[in-house]
Each structure stands twice: as structure tokens, then as C-alpha cells.
Amino acid sequence: MAAKVTVAIPVYNGARYLDEVLTAVRAQRVDRELELLVIDSGSTDGSLEIAERHGARIHRIPKSEFSHGGTRNLAMQLAEGDHVAFLTQDSTPAHDGWLAAMLEGFAQAEDVALVFGPHDPRPDASHMIKCEMERHFATWANGSGSDIQRIEHTGPGLRAYRGYPGRWAFFSDVNGAVAKWAWERIPYRTVPYAEDQLLGREMIEAGLAKVYHPGARVVHSHDYPPLQFFRRYFDEFRSLREVLGHVEALGWRVTPMTIRGLVGHDKRWLRRHGVRGAELVGLLAVSARHHFLRQLGAIVGSRSDRLPAPVRKRLSLEGRASFTPTTVEESPLLRCTPEPGSKPVEVVDNWPWDFVRRAYPERPIATVAHAGSTAAPWTVAWVVPAWRIGSGGHTTIFRLVRQLELRGHKCAIFVFDPFNRDPRHGAALREEMREHFVPVEAQVFHGLDDFSGADVCIATECWTAFPVRDLPNCREKVYLVQDHEEEFFATSAESLWAAETYRMGFRCIAYTPWMADLLRDRYAQEAHWFECGTDLDTFGYAGEEGRVPGMVAVYARSETERRAVPLAMAGLATLADRRPDLHPVLFGSRQPMRLPFAADNLGVVPPARLAELYRRASAGIVFSLTTHSLVAHEMMASGLPLVELEGDNVGSALGASGELVMLSRRTPDAIADALEQLLDRREEASAMALRARGFVETRTWERAGDQVEDALRAFLANPTRR
């Protein structure tokens, strides 16, 4: 025979069901010696005789000494069993395997401290009670199968607990069992009420496990006439307020919605049980009355501290007049405001920078071994950031996608959007991309959930490099570096992380030889390069005729700091002082401008409108502090002479000053001088613009496509892993 098991029942005038309960306990089939313990607090209705008849061990206490927590602690002390199953005097085990199911729950793991089971309503219970019980116990394991609950003391584990603490902490000693070893560590709180909830919470927070076992069923429910229900809920919620500080929500919206929700549950339950028509309407009217009174009882009960004692006594079903708050320590895991005057920080599941955090500790780029075959067609997955219409970087990416498609390769585009800038689904994004950028064939996916592998996977922006590094089933991982993104940010976490992506070990394809050199020299990365093409159909060449003297097209995208817009404005202000006929036309920004000189602002406009501006203006300004802008190419294609800032980033691509563009020192007066030279020396300017057009004509998208395809072929021929 194994160790003993105890069934403990606190009793006070419980003769109505006690015989039934004890008969069912005695009928239990378990392979342990069963001890039946009754703690009586002064019954006068024959309960003791019934208990004696069933051979219970009876312990008597005065009624004044009874408290739900204290009396159960006493039962635990007196019990000889290793496990103590608690029942109340009106909860009857539903079958002879009830206790065995409880013990089976403890056997599920060594750290199981508590086991509890469902309550079946008594046959005469109302539909509201039946529905409520069914719904309540469906919380665990969907109502079928046993469910082991244990809090993981990790970020996600604690978030799950805080999101729905009741699911984890619920325990009921109407039908629940406690392991003695666990109780010795964490006893019941000596509170007048909700002792089981506190025990469940403290044990689960201490890292112990709790099991719901559907086989450990009891028959138990309370039914009262409507007004008595109100009084019962008054008592229950007064106690919840006293012990746990719970105050039931009250409001013009929340209260009716709560009642409506509860009636709705009853309605669905009744329909599931085949109730229809007039009968349904009648029963729902009963439901509405019940839930109204229940809610009223909860609201008044949880605010009973505001009522005079005689009123409390009158409303209480127990006839208790007192209101005695109990000090219970706040749960350390559920505590919301640990510091006076502070507010809790909102806890979210989708912190935007989580993708960076998860990228550490550093690990090598994930690729699969391959033999170095370059046989086409290839499958190419592009991971791109969310876009806005007009984004030049995306235009370049999609043009390259199209170029690979035209060479027979298969592409797919995955939009990586940790900042949730665009919640649309892939099909909507694809439609926009095809309409406003380039009509590619590739499918578009929002997020990386549908990614399963490719011959080559390409990161196209610094944040995309983090997930691309770890994506599975790719022969090669490539980083398309259009700009030195570290410089996009002030000294910050972002600038650190952006720089980090250049050290991850990707095989790079850079926009411009300058960027490729930078990747090689500063970051020691393998780098090929490509040069962008220009849309020569849209940006057609125009000569001197039709150009408006003094009109200057100015790329004023102030949202992008690397375009040095204030520097351009300073140069224009200097020139405006010298030339009253200066007519700057700004474009490229959605932000309003306030300037010390007269100018027009076109804002963000389609390429065709820009082409028109480039054909009418006499000079253009485009500044680039990192890789040079494609806007410069478009102006050059349109025959518009332009001023750029000097520096290796521009000079390495566009040659010496005056060859294709005017390169200015980075000072306002030098910019004004360079621009003035373009406006005054029209013949020289036109000749330079013609050379620039010839230069741009050689930079086609076909050439860019060839350069990217050649780079990918070189990577595939020389595998990262063989």
C-alpha cells in the first residue's frame, strides 16, 4: 500500500448534501489508504452524525475560529496523507475515479503542487449556471484532456501570465487537492475569503506546477431565487474587495456591455442545446434579469465600504454587517507601479528593434553548401524595406529585379517591416509596386513568414541585413549596398547597428565603385559594383531653346539630411542677393519651407512633371554627401547643367568639375559662384550638358542588370560553403 491520501471537508450545517458527498468519497477506488477528515465548526443539523456514520475523523472548532484559509491550514496540519483533496459540504465527486484522477494529476510531474477539476452543475441548476460553469472550465485544455500550468520566468512567459493571470492562478478548493510538501513551503493565507485564489497565485508564482484534470469532476452548483442571487454576489464581491481589493467596473458603456456579453453567452449555449423560438426568448429574459442582478450585486458588493453597516447586513445573504479589509501582499509579478509617481510602461509583443536584439550573439551568415554551379535560371529572393511612392532606392531595386527577370531568373520580393509602416498584404503592395515603380513579375510578401529558400537571397537595406543573415536554405547571401547607411544617422544605436551590417560577412554589390571601395577598405568586405541607368524615355534631352533664364531646379528633399538642403539654400540665398532674377523651383520634399528668398516649391511630383521642369530650367542643384543621387543622372539626361558638391563620392563617378557637372566646394559662396557661372556662361554650360547626356546614355539599366548578374554569377561560382 502506498502513502495515505486525505479527503478534507470543512462542515457547518451541511446535512443537506453531506451524506451524498461522503458516500461518494467512500466509494472512491484508489490504491492508497483513504483518510476522511471533517472539520466541523459547530453544526447543529445532524452533520456530525452523518460524518460519524461514514467513519470520518472529526475535528471540532468553535464557529468563531473558522476562516476559509485558517481552517484549511488546520486540515493540512491534521491530515496524514501526502496529498489532501479538499471538497466542500455540497460538492459531490461525480464518479468513483475522482480521487484517482486527482492523484494522476500529481503524477504528471514532480513539481505539481496543486490539482483541480471541473464542476458539473446539479441537474436542477439554471441554464445561466450551467453555461457559466461550462465556459469557465473550457479555459483549460479546451475543456478536454489535462492541462499542466507552470509560469516560465522569461520575458514571454511573464507577459503571458500578466496578460491573463486568472488562467494561471485559478485554483478552487471546492474541488482541488494540495501536495503537502508544497503546502509546507507555501501555506494558505489566513484570509476570510479567496484563500484558494491566493494559494494558486503564490504557488504558481513560486515556480510550482498546477494541473487541471477533467476526470476529477464534482457535482456542485448553487442556485437561488433572483434576489438571493443578488445578495450572494454582494457577499462574494465584498469579500473580493476585502481580500484582493477588486472593484467591479461600473460605467454607462461597460456595465451594459458586460451584461450583454453574458446574455450572449447564454444565448449561444441555449442554441447549442436546441432551444429556439419563444422558449429561447423567455429563457433569455431570465438570463438578462439574472445577469443584471449579478452585476448589481458585484458593483454594490465591491463598493460596500461606502455603505452603512446596517445596510450591509440587510443586503448580505450571510447577514454580515462588517467590512474588514485584509492586507495581502501584492503579487511581485503582477505589480504595476513599483515606484511612487511612476506609470507602468506599456508591454508590447512587437518591439520594433527586437530583430536586432535577436541577431546577437553574432553568428556567421547562414548558407547551404553547394558545388559552385552557375547554371541558370536562378531563384532570387529580395528582402526590401517598406516603401513610399517615389522612393529612389526602391526604384533601383525593382529595376534590377526586372533586369534579372528579363534574363530568365525567378524572383520573389519580401517586405521586411519591423516598424509596421505598411500593414497592407503582399498583393496590394505588388499592385502598387507595379503601378508606381516597375511592372515586375515577382510575387510580393509582407514579412518573411513565407520565405523558404532561394539560390540567392539579397538584403537591400541595413535593417534587412539582420534577418537575411539567418534565413534558411540559400546558396548565397548578398548585400545590395546602395549607400553608406551608417552616415544616415547621428551618433546613435542606429548608426552603430547600420555599420555592423557591413561587417557581417555578406558578399556585397555596391552602387558605384566609390561605395565598393569603401566596403573593401573600411570593412574588408568582398564587393562588386554596379551603376544605375536612367529612364531616357521620360527624361528626354532638351537643348538651350525653351529654357527660362534664372530658373534653377533644386532638389530640396529636406527629409534626407545627406542631401544637404540647408547648404543648397544658403548658396541660393547668396546668389539671390546678387541676382534679383533668380527663380529657384524646389522639389522632392513634402515639408513646408520658409526661406530668405523668393522660390516656388513643387513638392513631390511624378517623373513626367520633373522632366518638364528639367527641360525648362537653366541650371540644377543636387547635393550628395554620400553616394550621388540618381536625380543628378535624370537632370543630365534632360540636358540640364547642374551643380554638385565636390568629394570622392561624386568625383569618382562624374569626373572633374566642368567635365560632366560643376563641382562646388561645400560653402555657400562657392555654390553661388558655381551656379552663377552656369547661368552666365551658357555656351560652356550647354556643352557640358551635352557631354553629360552622352555619359548617361551609356549608363543603361541593361548594363546595370549585366553588372548585377555578373556579380551574382561570380558569387555562385565561388561558394561560401562547399
Binding site: 547554371a375 531563384t379 525567378k410 510578401f445 509582407h446 532561394a454
Partner: protein
């Protein structure tokens, strides 16, 4: 005997080249087919993602308070339509 060996060697070499060419052709075919299937798989997944999106949208819609509140209006509209059709049929 040496002559015989030489003939066999030539035959073997020709055979090897032929087999290599056949294998290369098969590999190319397999690659094309793989890429086609990859593309088809992504089309299917994109369709599925779109379907799931609209399904969620539909569920959110019919689960919204406004949809539930306006349900009597929709039901009334259906009933009015039925009544109109019946009246029209009688005339």
C-alpha cells in the same frame, strides 16, 4: 590485342562525352523546372496570403459591434425585399 584496347578506349571516351552532355542537358532541364516550381510555389503562397488577409478582414468585419448593431437593418431590408417581391407577384 593492343589495337583492340585502343578501339575500346576511343569508344569509351565517346561514350563518356555523350553521357556528360546528356547529364548536363538533364541538369539544365532540372534547374529550369526547379525555378519554375519555385515561382509557382510563391504564386500559390501569395494567393494563400491574400486569401488569409481577406478572411481575417471579413471576420473582423462581421465580429465588429457596428456590424452587429446594424444587423436588424439588414434583416429588415431583406424582409422588405421579400415583401415587395410578393406584392409584385400578386399584382
Amino acid at each position: 590485342m593492343p589495337r583492340r584496347q585502343s578501339t575500346l578506349g576511343r569508344l569509351s571516351e565517346t561514350d563518356w562525352k555523350q553521357r556528360a552532355l546528356t547529364a548536363e542537358a538533364a541538369l539544365e532541364e532540372a534547374r529550369t523546372e526547379t525555378a519554375r516550381l519555385w515561382s509557382e510555389l510563391h504564386e500559390h503562397r501569395a494567393d494563400q496570403a491574400e486569401l488569409n488577409y481577406y478572411r481575417r478582414l471579413y471576420e473582423d468585419q462581421v465580429d465588429s459591434v457596428s456590424w452587429k448593431l446594424t444587423r436588424p437593418l439588414r434583416e429588415a431590408k431583406v424582409l422588405a425585399g421579400k415583401a415587395q417581391r410578393r406584392l409584385a407577384a400578386r399584382r
